[in-house]
């Protein structure tokens, strides 16, 4: 319940900004702010008052694959052939753990964006998107070389689409896995023909952001154990596009 008195509403906004409301109260406050400009202003006021505290936090070096993933997910639908350039450098000016500047990201990052756009796969655009989750799968040692894209819709239908050349299997089989909870371990989504451009499956469990997808090279016929046994060919983590 959003309090009625101005003083209590101001306090409620402060508790929201601090993160001290529970899940139900937080959702209610967020909804209320959408229709009550006064309450939204109270929240914005507390965000501004407390923001200097956020600036005191140790900066952390972003991993090299972070900007390429963001760029791929935000590629404008009407962009031309000129791929988005990688950031020149992201500096971490404060914090003993993270003062170093970061190297220029690989041009492969641009390639990732260009490949997706070239295939007409605008992962996120202004238009409504039917997918609940998207993951770009890359080789573990070549994060700028997208091999597959995974799209999961709101009904948990999974579409795996190959972007590059068919991977070499040397007589083995490619198995498609997903991992939602490390405590439960990965579960198989089936065997994928190396030559296949597209493969479909249905997800069990929640289609939540953070879910891992990977393709491993297994013996012919698939993993004998029900868990990945061979090398990871491609891997990626799903992000929400809600």
């Amino acid at each position: 319940m959003i309090p009625a008195s101005p003083e209590d509403r101001r306090l409620h906004a402060a508790l929201y900004v601090l993160g001290l409301l529970d899940e139900t109260e937080t959702a209610e406050a967020r909804r209320h702010a959408e229709s009550d400009a006064g309450f939204a202003a109270e929240i914005a006021g507390w965000q501004a008052r407390l923001a200097p505290l956020a600036r005191t936090v140790d900066h952390e070096a972003p991993p090299d694959d972070l900007w390429p993933a963001i760029a791929a997910a935000t590629r404008p639908a009407d962009a031309g052939a000129d791929p988005a350039a990688p950031p020149a450098a992201v500096t971490a000016p404060r914090g003993g753990r993270s003062r170093r500047a970061f190297a220029i990201l690989s041009l492969a990052a641009s390639l990732l964006v260009g490949v997706l756009a070239g295939l007409g796969i605008a992962v996120l655009t202004d238009a409504p998107e039917p997918e609940a989750l998207v993951a770009v799968l890359v080789p573990p040692d070549q994060p700028g070389q997208p091999g597959y894209i995974v799209r999961v819709d709101a009904e948990r239908n999974v579409v795996l689409q190959r972007l590059g050349d068919a991977p070499a299997t040397d007589g083995g089989a490619i198995e498609f896995w997903t991992l939602a909870d490390p405590a439960l371990g990965p579960s198989s989504l089936g065997l994928v023909e190396a030559s296949a451009q597209r493969y479909e499956a249905v997800l069990e469990g929640d289609a939540a952001p953070g879910r891992l997808f990977e393709l491993t090279l297994e013996p012919a016929g698939g993993s004998p154990t029900g868990r990945p046994t061979g090398p990871v060919l491609y891997i990626g983590r799903a992000v929400s596009v809600d």
Binding site: G19, A51, P52, V57, P62, W67, A85, S240
Partner: protein, 191 residues
């Protein structure tokens, strides 16, 4: 890289860059990333205590920014506060979803770390010469030490009322009352 584009974006205010995102200018988003990604990652890491989750939270926050840039209203407050709130609320939601079980597996370690982190945060706030930081530090200084620490740990470490009650060895109701009193005092001081 298009140097002309990058130079023009590097001199723009954050509010102007957010407006650029609303016009679907990806270079504006990239300029924000270059300026703020490391801080946003630090905030998410501190709130969740987990590097892998922090990375995903920042990725989603930038996608949020891209999709909802038009929702930013400069009349309602600072662009920086708005931007940082995107990552804070995502991290807080993640903590709620996790039940914080993993993060608080070793409560003693977490609490002693939070106390040290509070001291460091207040020292750094004192070094920040921007007007909003000076005002906040001045008003936090007027609070009793324990109440000041409760506010800082809730904001920076994502501590809940239960966490604070355990950390300060006080009944839950007492902590709730003290936090509210601290916020009222801050409101009065900061205006």
């Amino acid at each position: 890289m298009d140097q002309t584009r990058d130079t023009s974006h590097s001199t723009q205010t954050l509010a102007a860059l957010i407006a650029g995102c609303a016009r679907r200018d990806q270079a504006a988003l990239q300029a924000i990333y270059e300026r703020y990604a490391s801080l946003m990652l630090g905030i998410a890491r501190r709130l969740t205590g987990r590097a892998e989750q922090a990375r995903d939270i920042v990725q989603e926050a930038f996608i949020d920014l891209w999709r909802n840039a038009e929702a930013f209203d400069p009349a309602l407050g600072s662009a920086e506060a708005w931007l940082l709130s995107l990552v804070r609320y995502r991290a807080l939601n993640q903590n709620r979803a996790n039940g914080r079980a993993l993060r608080l597996a070793n409560a003693v370690e977490v609490e002693s770390g939070a106390a040290a982190g509070t001291t460091a945060a207040l020292d750094r706030l004192g070094d920040d010469r921007l007007a909003d930081a000076i005002a906040l530090r001045d008003c936090l200084d007027r609070l009793a030490e324990d109440r000041r620490a409760m506010v800082v740990q809730a904001y920076l470490d994502g501590h809940t009322h239960d966490d604070l009650a355990r950390a300060f060895a006080r009944p839950l109701g007492t902590v709730k009352t003290q936090i509210r009193a601290a916020l009222r005092a801050l409101q009065e001081c900061l205006g």
